[in-house]
């Protein structure tokens, strides 16, 4: 046998061939390189978010005021639910790494259970994400968009524990909807090839009338003042702004309008958390496939649970990305 092998003089050297210099299998290495490229995609998104935010640094929405809801509870709980989601994802990362560890010890039962828990964690996260989207799209207070595309919100000063605080007021609390001559266009009684989105509940005129008759309600603009809060206009300015510049009543958020502030904020929210949510979803699907393979004993027969490790890498990466999304979207 010896005389059929060419002697290259590199035997025993690290990069001489015939061994694994990185001590990692092909699959694992490629998973790492995929993760690097995916990380760059995500950082592209987040850097673009940073770009737009720096561009509108003086008028960007304040995340604490946007994400304040917790399912099944009423009231104002900024960030609590997102923190819970973060914890769920870290927890499912832990069960994943425990599954990998059990795989190293060839304990099929343990791997099965830990994989199961990981999938459950992933599903809870995706479900929470969907709920978060639903709440964001539905909106809570409503606002008026100006001709220039800026957002005017409403609120009043209330005294809480001896301190003057600006409290948001929903449109429904001071505006009365009048009878409208304009009905929503429907495919079945109009042009079948034309669609129209839902019409706002109120018109700008109705909002103006409501504002006129409620002397406590003031308008808040997007501009952030020196104290890091949004500027509240005086009563006269409020009325003037709505009368002269109000163009559209906005309730909730979508890719065109956004009651919380600049529509870019909503666009980035949908794109970044959507892209991440898609990763979680595909991670759950892959985890389910591996889960059944574990149950069927595929890896037991193969003699190695490395496949669990590779999927684990992907799953941890999804968690890693969320840590950054959490910081840059909700905290900073």
């Amino acid at each position: 046998m010896d005389n059929t092998v060419a002697n290259t003089g590199t035997e025993g050297k690290t990069w001489g061939g015939g061994n694994q210099p990185l001590k990692a299998s092909y699959g694992k290495m490629m998973m790492w390189f995929f993760i690097v490229s995916d990380a760059l995609t995500f950082s592209g998104f987040l850097a673009a978010y940073g770009f737009s935010r720096f561009k509108f640094i003086g008028s960007w929405p304040i995340a604490d005021e946007v994400f304040t809801h917790v399912p099944f509870f009423h009231g104002n709980y900024p960030m609590i639910y997102v923190a819970f989601m973060t914890f769920i994802l870290i927890m499912s990362s832990v069960t994943m790494v425990l599954a990998v560890d059990a795989g190293h010890h060839m304990k099929k039962n343990k791997v099965t259970w830990y994989m199961f828990l990981t999938i459950i964690g992933g599903l809870i996260f995706v479900g929470s994400q969907a709920w978060e989207w639903g709440t964001f799209i539905k909106g809570d207070y409503g606002a008026v968009q100006t001709k220039g595309g800026n957002i005017l919100q409403f609120g009043e000063y209330v005294t809480v524990e001896g301190e003057q605080k600006f409290k948001r007021v929903a449109l429904g609390d001071f505006v009365v909807a009048e009878e409208k001559y304009r009905t929503e266009h429907d495919r079945k009684n109009g042009l079948w090839f034309v669609q129209e989105g839902t019409l706002p509940t109120y018109t700008v005129d109705e909002v103006y009338k409501g504002l006129e008759s409620h002397s406590n309600v003031l308008v808040r603009t997007q501009i952030i003042n020196d104290e890091g809060e949004k500027t509240v206009l005086s009563r006269e300015e409020s009325l003037m702004q709505i009368k002269n510049n109000g163009k559209l009543v906005v309730e909730g958020a979508n890719l065109h309008v956004n009651e919380y502030g600049t529509s870019l904020f909503a666009d980035f929210f949908f794109f970044i958390t959507g892209f991440h949510g898609f990763h979680v979803f595909s991670g759950v699907v892959i985890n389910i496939i591996i889960f059944f393979n574990v149950i069927l004993g595929t890896y037991e027969r193969r003699g190695s649970y490395e496949m669990v490790e590779k999927v684990g890498l992907y799953w941890h990466f999804v968690d890693l990305v969320w840590v950054f999304v959490f910081t840059f979207f909700y905290l900073v």
Partner: protein, 126 residues
């Protein structure tokens, strides 16, 4: 299966007896960091509102804590600690360099455009 795991974190300050124990230890560490972030985010203490290198101190704290979290997820959950030096550098240095480059360029540009809006001739249209 002989899988050697390095069982020290924080430069050997904490040593774990087994890999499983290390995983739980890292979970506790990550949970504490997240809790600190959330508490700071809700209360926004006055001392952290000063500006340091163009950004609020609080935001710097958030970013540093995030990088710490990312480090432990990569090093201990993804087992980067146990990979060879070459693989580790291939992955980490490449990503860190490219991301820093991208972030620097885009934020610089964003800040410039903002300055045009706020001190140039473009007026805010209401």
């Amino acid at each position: 299966m002989a899988h050697a795991h390095k069982l020290e974190i924080l430069r050997g300050l904490i040593k774990f007896k087994s890999n499983t124990q290390k995983i739980w230890g890292v979970l506790i560490l990550l949970s504490i960091i997240t809790a600190v972030e959330v508490v700071l985010g809700i209360y926004k203490p006055e001392w952290a509102m000063g500006k340091v290198i163009g950004m609020k101190l609080l935001n710097w704290i958030f970013i540093i804590l995030t990088i710490v979290k990312a480090y432990y997820i990569t090093w201990d959950f993804m087992h980067m600690r146990d990979e060879t030096k070459a693989l580790r550098r291939m992955v980490v240095w490449t990503a860190v360099f490219l991301i820093c480059y991208l972030v620097f360029i885009l934020l610089q540009e964003g800040g410039y455009i903002e300055s045009i809006y706020s001190s140039g001739f473009v007026k805010r249209d209401f």
